[in-house]
Symmetry: C2
Amino acid sequence: MSFAPTELTTSLRKPEKLRYDAESVHGILDEAYVCHVGYATDGVPRVLPTAYCRIGDVVYFHGSTGSRAFLTGRDEGVDVCLTVTIHDGIILSRSWFHHSMNYRCVIAHGRALPVTDEVEKRDALAALVDKLAPGRSNDSRPPTDKELAQTAVLALRLKEVSVKERTGGPGEEPSDLDLPFWAGTLPISSNFGRPVPDEHVKVATPVGLPQPS
Amino acid sequence: MSFAPTELTTSLRKPEKLRYDAESVHGILDEAYVCHVGYATDGVPRVLPTAYCRIGDVVYFHGSTGSRAFLTGRDEGVDVCLTVTIHDGIILSRSWFHHSMNYRCVIAHGRALPVTDEVEKRDALAALVDKLAPGRSNDSRPPTDKELAQTAVLALRLKEVSVKERTGGPGEEPSDLDLPFWAGTLPISSNFGRPVPDEHVKVATPVGLPQPS
């Protein structure tokens, strides 16, 4: 399955870097932990990092991010651009000009709507918690009605969405290849350290937690 | 030195998470590699990841990001929100409600202006390249006039800027502390792998490159 390109999800420059297949979109969204949500208030742009999760073709994220725009009810939703970036490496070239980054990025446009249905909200929060550590929603206390009411969740249905990525080594000018400079890739990866229990923990560290690499 | 808080850089929720000192702002900007630049075109928000660097209180980033809004001249500049986030950990709590993330984030608002002065542009590009690997601007070929003309650089002066961060372990409800669940922090860090030379490299790997941890 692929998402249909639109004016918002196409590019005049290097369109070959763009893809629209659901597998790529879902893969990046499922691998990363933080999205950057952009929206505009009276024309002033704002970009906030926040946790998110995906269920099917819907991305859920917290609506109480501390910003005025998200604090109020906003029953009508808010137009957002939700961007998730995984930084895979630094590209060192023989020329300043061709220095670059390897990355994989999902950019999704649309109206994020507040989740008002209680079942959908609980499912979204369970998925958010399970994204942080698999199985976690069964291994912690579900929200009280009061906590549920305090938690604003926004839903963005994936529709206008693209994947942009750069892979591989430096793209050099042929005339630069004999220059006496090192060129190549500095791989970057995000890694878990050893889990740090808080001081009140009385149970063993769950075996299912992400492990240090 | 501190930046003065403004309506754009304050929060109604958890204001204790916000700071304005230049040392914190500069430290996060200098540690991370990717910023998310948000802007609005006809009210439609867009968020793009891109490389950046800092010289004093100015952040420089590439203006040719493939988007229509940045492609054209835009002599007058573009209002942006530039956000840089370092994700330090995942917080697992005894309750769904208190699951969270540890992070450090800089959010800067202002008008990004195209850099037209050639000396400033070269200095910015040198700093961009040196951020990717220290000393790199002396260890690669500077841009030709044509390459320089092809490279759009935008400058955002830091003025309306805040640091938002969360550190420490889970914040629990006292009544949850005896629940039979593990709680704590999963530290996350970004690490370099071994440098991968491209197939034409004839020189040794520079000793100054970031090393695998």
